[in-house]
């Protein structure tokens, strides 16, 4: 593999791909790629928020009546979990940047723990609704909410379900990063994967920051 002329003075670091000239270029490319992916995710969720706005405009009373059946305490708990997991994720990235393997592993485990807690709370919330007969769309069978609650709960399950799916994917990524950290793959010179998974996780938290007030709180 012929070396590019201006690369002679540093030996070839293991993580550098052949088609990049310097690890700075590679790190910058990875970060730009991740941010472009995040822009795309934002527009993906924009469709759901647009559906929320349109349906709330069509059914104001139903939305008010139906969202009282959502449990604010569970939602708030989830918000706390996600924000703390965001903190521990940021600390994990910082630890990787300062080649502090031990703290990186601890923070990653904490992040995974909070993410799992989020899923558990979500499980209880869903199971309680199913118990009441509140199923999405045409399977809806709870007669105590006036107006058109099928639409509200259909939207509720799609939005929180899509977000929960992203949380589960996030947990998978975090596990993959955790295993690679244990094998000592990351250091101050090469921490792009940790940073990118961190960006993805903060995006998941960002989405929930908007989901929580819109669905659970707004009167």
């Amino acid at each position: 593999m012929s070396q590019v002329a201006d690369h002679a003075h540093t030996e070839h670091p293991p993580h550098l791909h052949h088609h990049f000239h310097s690890s700075a270029q590679q790190a910058a490319s990875a970060k730009l790629g991740m941010w472009v992916f995040i822009a795309q995710e934002i527009l993906f969720f924009s469709g759901l928020f647009m559906a929320y706005i349109a349906l709330r405009y069509l059914y104001p009373k139903t939305f008010l009546a139906a969202h009282e059946h959502l449990d604010v305490s569970m939602g708030a708990l989830n918000t706390v979990f996600l924000i703390t997991s965001s903190l521990t994720m940021a600390l994990a990235v910082r630890a990787a940047q300062t080649s502090n393997k031990k703290w990186a592993e601890i923070n990653l485990l904490l992040t995974i723990g909070f993410a799992l807690a989020f899923c558990v709370v979500k499980y209880f919330e869903y199971s309680h609704k199913f118990h009441l007969g509140i199923f999405p769309g045409k399977y809806y069978a709870y007669t105590h909410i006036p107006g058109n609650p099928e639409v509200f709960f259909g939207l509720y399950f799609v939005m929180t379900g899509m977000h929960a799916l992203h949380v589960v994917v996030g947990i998978g990524l975090l596990l993959w990063i955790y295993l690679k950290t244990r094998t000592g793959a990351f250091s101050a010179a090469y921490y792009s994967p940790v940073e990118n998974v961190g960006l993805y996780w903060h995006l998941v938290d960002l989405i929930w920051i908007f989901l929580f007030p819109l669905l659970y709180l707004v009167k």
Partner: protein
């Protein structure tokens, strides 16, 4: 390091004078695994080329079936393909078949050919070469997006097997949520294809930003890359909305969540907003790369610097941005509020201006050039002819008053075929002929190339100009039979349909002929030993690489001393110019 001064001979690298034993990207490793799991952007480009062409011809066959059926007002041709006890039952079964034919023709052509064709094939192949880079920024992501494309295509084939699709490529609710054809399978297929498009876009944006050759500033990159950069912006920012729309449609059918389905309390016009917010920028995804190819071929084959480089680059990006504001002109008669239609119509006229600038600049490039009528140039000139008609007829559809009459008629069908087939397909042909020698190291038969360009032009005009007349006379779109029409309209429709069907036969033959002589040249075409054998070369960086390029494109990093259009034939003593 070869210095720029002795770059008289375009092939800068030592391999240019090397002999056959120097390995190029094609014969470096001939095992199947090396092709299927390649990370080389050139090989991925070729794999895209093969699959894109397969689906193009598959969609083309569907089109020929549709045209043959419409040759006569009544239901006759398709009744041979269906079974039924009596004439009425045969007619209804044939109607279902017809609906599936035009739906699959639309969906396959758009999702599987038009969107990936130029960006994924020539973009993958030439973007790194033109930037002087070794590969795209994320090669594994590039291979992953190819296999997502294949997976999406498999879903479409599965749809064919399991009951077809009869909702039209637009999947409008509430019909798409109530019909019993395989809507979920095809929407999921389109959803996956969307990701292939997004990831290609991510790859291209990062590559253009971060991996340009030394001294290659933003004003020195070829216009083909400006077009691909704008296309990638649209792919990244518009396709996710299609993804969420199709997902909601799948939930709508499976769970009946009632966002779009009026039976459950939703609003079908809201679906049209969601759908067209993606689908109008998508038509710019299809046409912008074609603009890029035409800018390249026109300037190379008239050996002249492109006229108004800055304006063309700026118009590519501005088309991409304004393209996001105009989707409502698809919904003027669909129950959209009159004031919103007014707003959309106003902004749609704003998009027409940059497109006009491009066409004027291409024609101005020909002035005082040294033009040769080879296959790429003939296709480029026919592109300008056909795209000008396509663009101008867009004015009728953007104007509020005339769109009410012309919406959902054959006028619209003719308009978007002039822009898609006359535009993107003809540009695709121009690109294939322009870069054929560079890609495969073999020459196609020049006479065949010219004949195919001319016959595609003739067949195309016959097929679709007649549809303009039929459309403005009121013939609605997606009609299986038109025999109950009043007599004086019936005579017009029948004559126009017959001309159109004959034209489509000529177009079909011309394209099959093109496929034939190109594949023939792959095996028996004259080999290109060194760059002096090439019939033409450009000044952008892909011409500095070997023919066909080596696995890692360049032996040493090329430096962008001059712009992509500073041909040696340009005589600076003639005065004028910047």
């Amino acid at each position: 390091m070869t210095t720029a001064t002795d770059a008289i001979r375009p092939g800068g690298g030592p391999s240019a004078t090397g002999h056959a034993e120097e390995k190029d990207y094609l014969n470096v490793d001939n095992s199947i695994m090396s092709w299927l799991f390649t990370l080389d952007h050139k090989r991925i480009g070729l794999m895209y080329l093969a699959s894109v062409l397969f689906f193009f011809f598959f969609g083309g066959v569907l089109a020929l079936l549709i045209r043959t059926e419409l040759f006569t007002p009544g239901a006759d041709f398709l009744t041979y393909f269906v079974s039924g006890k009596n004439a009425a039952e045969l007619k209804l079964a044939a109607a279902d078949l017809y609906n599936q034919l035009f739906t699959l023709h639309g969906a396959i052509m758009i999702f599987l050919f038009l969107i990936p064709s130029i960006p994924a094939t020539f973009g993958n192949f030439f973007l790194p070469l033109m930037l002087g880079a070794k590969d795209v920024a994320f090669p594994r992501l590039n291979l992953f997006s190819f296999y997502i494309y294949v997976l999406g295509a498999l879903f479409f084939l599965y749809t064919l097997a399991s009951g077809g699709l009869d909702t039209g490529w637009t999947f409008y609710t509430p019909y798409s949520t109530s019909t019993n054809t395989a809507v979920i399978a095809s929407t999921f297929g389109a959803f996956i294809l969307g990701f292939s498009s997004i990831l290609t876009g991510v790859n291209f944006v990062v590559t253009v930003h971060k991996m340009r050759a030394p001294r290659m500033t933003w004003t020195r990159i070829p216009l083909f890359l400006w077009a691909l950069y704008s296309t990638s912006l649209i792919q990244i920012l518009a396709t996710p909305v299609l993804a969420i729309t199709l997902l909601l449609l799948i939930f709508e059918r499976a769970l009946g969540i009632g966002i779009f389905d009026p039976a459950m309390g939703g609003d079908p016009v809201l679906y049209q907003h969601f759908f067209w917010f993606y689908s109008h920028p998508a038509v710019y995804i299809m046409i912008l790369p074609a603009f890029g190819v035409i800018s390249e071929t026109i300037s190379v084959h008239s050996r002249k610097h492109i006229f108004g480089y800055g304006f063309i680059a700026a118009s590519s990006v501005s088309i991409a941005l304004i393209g996001f504001l105009v989707w409502g002109h698809h919904m003027f008669v669909s129950g959209q509020s009159p004031l919103a239609s007014l707003l959309f119509s106003m902004i749609t006229f704003a998009v027409a201006v940059p497109t006009a600038i491009k066409v004027f600049s291409w024609v101005a490039t020909l002035y005082k050039g040294s033009i040769v009528f080879n296959a790429p140039m003939l296709n480029a000139l026919s592109f300008i002819f056909l795209f000008t008609i396509g663009g101008l007829t867009g004015l009728f559809l953007a104007t509020l008053a005339t769109d009410v009459h012309l919406h959902d008629t054959y006028f619209v069908v003719a308009h978007f075929h002039y822009v898609m087939v006359g535009g993107t397909l003809v540009a695709f042909l121009a690109a294939i002929h322009h870069w054929w020698a560079k890609m495969f190291g073999r020459h196609y038969n020049e006479l065949c190339g010219r004949i195919s360009a001319i016959f595609v032009f003739i067949g195309f005009n016959l097929t679709f100009f007649s549809q303009f007349v039929m459309g403005s006379q009121g013939m609605p779109r997606r009609y299986f039979t038109y025999d109950q029409v009043s007599p004086e309209l019936l005579s017009i429709y029948t004559r126009m349909h017959q001309i159109s069907t004959v034209g489509s036969m000529i177009l079909g033959l011309a394209l099959t002929f093109t496929l034939f002589y190109l594949t023939h040249s792959l095996f028996f075409g004259k080999k290109v030993h060194n760059d002096s054998d090439l019939r033409w070369t450009g000044e952008s960086m892909e011409w500095k690489a070997a023919t066909p390029p080596s696995p890692h494109n360049f032996h040493e990093q090329p430096i962008a001393y001059n712009g992509p259009y500073d041909f040696k034939e340009i005589d600076h003593s003639l005065g004028g110019g910047h």
